[in-house]
Symmetry: D2
Subunit: 371 residues, 4 copies
């Protein structure tokens, strides 16, 4: 219960530090019979891999995944799927200097406060490399959702103060923008903003959006495990995320009921057809069958080369410059992490929700008795 496990039925456990042997994840509870290969998973990992644009750390890692269990003859077996990515460029020397002080905006101070000491090499467990396990597991969750026609699609909505215009945003632009933006004009301006930021030895944040299509209605639990509450936890559990919105989010707070309510127009394949989607596809914690819409606020990378005020392990004040190979912005690389956490949450909610009616239980029972 030290919190390296996520999910109830579709449940993942991650392990690994930035400068240890590697990073890994074990998935327990993935249904049997889903086609799965290392290539499927690799595709997702490649989207978070560093060194692909000048806006990410030049640290080079191939981040090749190995599936070690739970897949037989190309399909999941229902038993735990263990996946590992080995660490390659473990230049710990880069980091030995940070053993003695606390980097502002990082977890150095709080790890020491909690555990009494820490693996200081590259942030150890609190490094961004920790997300590798999430993405690998998320790829499997996506493979499961794909079997059902459900898709999570995330992208960069803004970088620093530069925001995409929804009217100019096209899904197919995602791969054309080095920042994973859907509005290419905004993307170009965001690139300029980043270059300027980098020149100033500074860093930027941004906002990531995720849209889920194909969700059936009736998924999610009505009280503490509301689907949006679970998504909020999933997304906030990503390192640098500081805010979460579902549907109209903070905007809803200043609307009136007559503006914010989504009128029902009809019903199609068990899904609600609504005039608007301020709710973001979830009512009372349960999916209504519309697209799920969520947003995550990502803070600027805390590692900056500029001089900063901080303290040593003994509490004495000092100034530091964080050297090393850091991302000036992590938003583009975090896009696939948001997608992964969203997919993991939905896969789990779907499996948990299977038992909500006795007729569903009965039909499962009958299938078990079919020769």
């Amino acid at each position: 219960m030290a919190g390296s496990t996520f999910g109830t039925i579709f449940r993942i456990t991650t392990w690994g530090e930035s400068h240890g042997d590697g990073i890994g994840v074990v998935i327990d509870g993935c249904p049997a019979g889903i086609p799965l290969s290392e290539e499927t998973v690799q595709e997702y990992l490649d989207r978070r891999r560093p060194g692909q644009t000048r806006y990410s750390t030049p640290r080079r890692e191939s981040d090749r995944v190995a599936i070690q269990s739970g897949v037989f003859e190309g399909r999941t077996t229902g038993t735990p799927i263990s996946m590992t990515v080995r660490n390659e460029t473990q230049r710990s020397s880069d980091y030995s200097e940070i053993a003695g002080f606390y980097r502002p905006g990082h977890a150095d101070f709080t790890f020491d406060a909690k555990y009494g000491f820490r693996d200081y090499r590259g942030g150890g467990r609190s490094s961004g490399r920790e997300t590798i396990g999430r993405v690998a597991a998320g790829a499997v969750a996506c493979a499961m959702l794909r079997e059902l026609g459900i898709e999570a699609f995330a992208y960069t909505a803004s970088i620093g103060p530069i925001t995409s215009d929804p009217a100019a945003s096209l899904r197919e632009n995602r791969t054309k923008s080095p920042l994973y933006m859907l509005d290419l004009t905004a993307s170009a301006r965001a690139e300029d903003y980043l270059l300027e930021t980098m020149q100033q030895q500074d860093s930027a944040g941004g906002i990531i959006e995720c849209v889920v299509s194909g969700m059936p209605a009736g998924i999610g639990e009505p009280v503490f495990d509301k689907l949006d509450a679970c998504l909020a936890k999933a997304v906030l559990s990503i390192g640098a995320v500081k805010g979460f919105e579902i549907g109209s989010g903070f905007g809803a707070a200043s609307l009136r009921g007559s503006e914010n309510n989504d009128a029902f127009l009809g019903k199609e394949n068990g899904r609600a057809v609504k005039q608007t989607n301020h709710a973001g596809g979830i009512l009372g914690g349960i999916s209504d069958g519309s697209d799920i819409l969520l947003r995550a606020a990502v803070k600027p990378t805390p590692s900056i080369a500029r001089q900063q005020q901080t303290i040593g392990r003994d509490g004495s004040p000092m100034t530091v410059n964080i050297r090393g190979r850091h991302d000036p912005v992590i938003v583009p690389r975090a896009v696939v992490v948001v997608e992964a956490m969203t997919a993991l949450t939905l896969a789990d909610a779907l499996l948990v929700g299977m038992s909500s009616r006795i007729d569903g239980v009965r039909s499962f029972y009958q299938r078990q008795q079919t020769p």
Copy 2:
């Protein structure tokens, strides 16, 4: 795992529908030896009780709590604490008409999609009365935190478009404002806004903030159970909440690293002393000992008397006017709910975190051996 349980060690389970016998909660895992009485709990419930101002439903409920177990001679025994509030004004007839259609912005549609049918009286389990169990349990969590000098303090930051000025906000104003705002000028303007909204048979939303003081550093888990992620889930699990921020929240997304990083100045009683608190008291998912700052966006009450477009259970279009005794704004009554969910999250994280170091385990073991 139908999600009526919250927490790992300090764990609560709520039950009850709007128009059933009553609403209740069972707390399992509350440490033994905490002074507790029904009066302590009642104080919190009174803060969410309806009918106290003209901005809440005139439905009158005394909402008296009874503690049925787990307290002996004025102290918690370590065994489950069961608390019940009986429902009094169960005028189901108010609601019989809503059995046949789906109220926009409510969970009627999604409950039917999930369970095949629903207790349609007053929203059943998805009614705002469900929060009674949270508040009663939250009062116990607050009693535990009080033993440690930790306090969660929530208030209304904005109503619709009317926002408090932090410079004019004073803690002692909370009880002076019928809306639980700390800025009395903003509160008066918000009252005007609400009266106008009510005249238009409409409803309003708002933003609630919560500040936690007295937290030690080192609480929270570093990966999926980050303290801010757990708070996000806790807060989003409250009925009408659509957004969550920790520290500078969405604002952080447009700042630069040099602006958003909080410089460390020193260390005091194990806590970080920082120049600013953009992090909101949590770094890498673990408390740093500064105040924890969070914000919740609450949507406008979906029940409005205005005519709305919707569908019947069979999917056919119709127009409806939601009659009955509804809150034009639930924000003021939700303030104590946010406080409760925050306290429950922190109490649990504190207890989970007790085992993070072997020296702490050893000292527990030794205490067990002391006559």
Copy 3:
């Protein structure tokens, strides 16, 4: 996580002490649509009610259950089912004397060691009345299993040294024997044994067996949550149980492989047809579709009127005679408790197992999309 909760999907939480307000249970995760009434539950509670034969405590309790939530128009709604039984004969004075010392064989000492103090009235939370919540919840689990044609049937196999002859055992005898034995000759001898034991101010134990028919194959999880492991925990969690066997149990330890292996003869409705059932219906932790057979060893009631050696709260030696209205044997009243715990375990395992194959998930998903 103080362990008053049992189950993962079909999850119950019990509360209440012997001499508090009452005893209760909340079930979360019961599928919607199961017919349920207080009468159904009462029938099970009546089987554990005291005062029905001279072999149980003369303490009279009507033990009437009230269902407070989760049932609407005669069917479960999928939301939490809260049930309460009020305590009636709370003659605490019977027990005030035991506040100062530790009864041998009871949990008085260990409660003080754990919590620092205890509700000493009648054993408080460790009283046999705690099983009321289990039985009420078990009745609901049985109602769910009945929908699927699954039945758990428990009975007394032995009292002290008197053991039923399987050849003379008939199911219909259970209600004819005041001890719930299936062999009426053994039952009569056991009655004699008990009368003699009571004359000696002593108490007796015994063995309870439970047979589950109608289980489909394929239920249970293959590693830590093996179906027999879950049953073992369920049964050992009942107050006085000291041993557990599945199938041939301890007997298997002295058999040879060729004797203990069950030959497969065929397959019927997805179930294995086997020559023998040493396995007790479970192979590798997963049901094979044969009857599940389990046994529980129950220790003699620790409360006896004979003089015993013990210590006071301060550790000083003393002798005591436990007065009060105690059962000379709890085995007959525990029969329904074993049945309840078995049913709860199976109901949960069935719901957990629904997601083990992607084709099952797909068919659930499709049902959600059917108008």
Copy 4:
């Protein structure tokens, strides 16, 4: 929730099949600061390694463990500890023939019933190799318990019908007996019995006992998570275990209360001093500070070379002889597995129990505030 995870705070997740890449385990929730090396873990794995006596399979595996995370500078860091043992002799061809039929006494049938297909190579996930993860994790749990002076010590009590004489049993004999028995005369007779069994192409079972010394009083939870209930589940979750006893176990069922009650004589270091220990160190689910005594019944190895009756995947009858390198008895190799599962259960119960009193919570809180 597919049950590859064990424990609440000290929580392990295992993965791996007999003939896949390897077998592994991730421990989450191990306190920081415990000295740990691969050698410590290897020592435990070596005790379950095959090929060391003629009573175990001649299959040779070095079973070298690698610790991949969670240990820094020789101490646990509080973050997940991932350990892997690679499979070496993966002669799948040995097993290809078993793809088409169901081995009696094995999980082949039930895996197919549950998942629709299975990794048939060597039993896949249901192979005895699955226990490698348990033993590696158990070694870490033992390292934690050692810090507190707690030790779990298991041994073979009987092989087939040959039982150790407690009077002739000495702890130091465990390493002298190839069967891990404490009575060397019984051990010699058991060897004879095994040789005869092997000549008959048959297999044997036996009984394992485990004694835990050094436990403080007050550990375990009083209702569903009774310490003995948790131990029962832990032990029954080991592949071939069919029965469990705590203290006098099934023997208690035929005793009288006056015989079975353990008189209290005094109190020492918070522990009960008792005349006898029929309770096996646990009263009401909570440790009393005496030694914990448990027993596990292990069935005879189901893989035997003798001809057996079974069915093919299509249900058609056939006869088979299970060839390959199988253990004629697994009891000696399972001794360390019982020890591991016991240690894991106790480590978890200790950490869960730390929060049972507010004074313990307060002292933790104060430590966090100490510079």
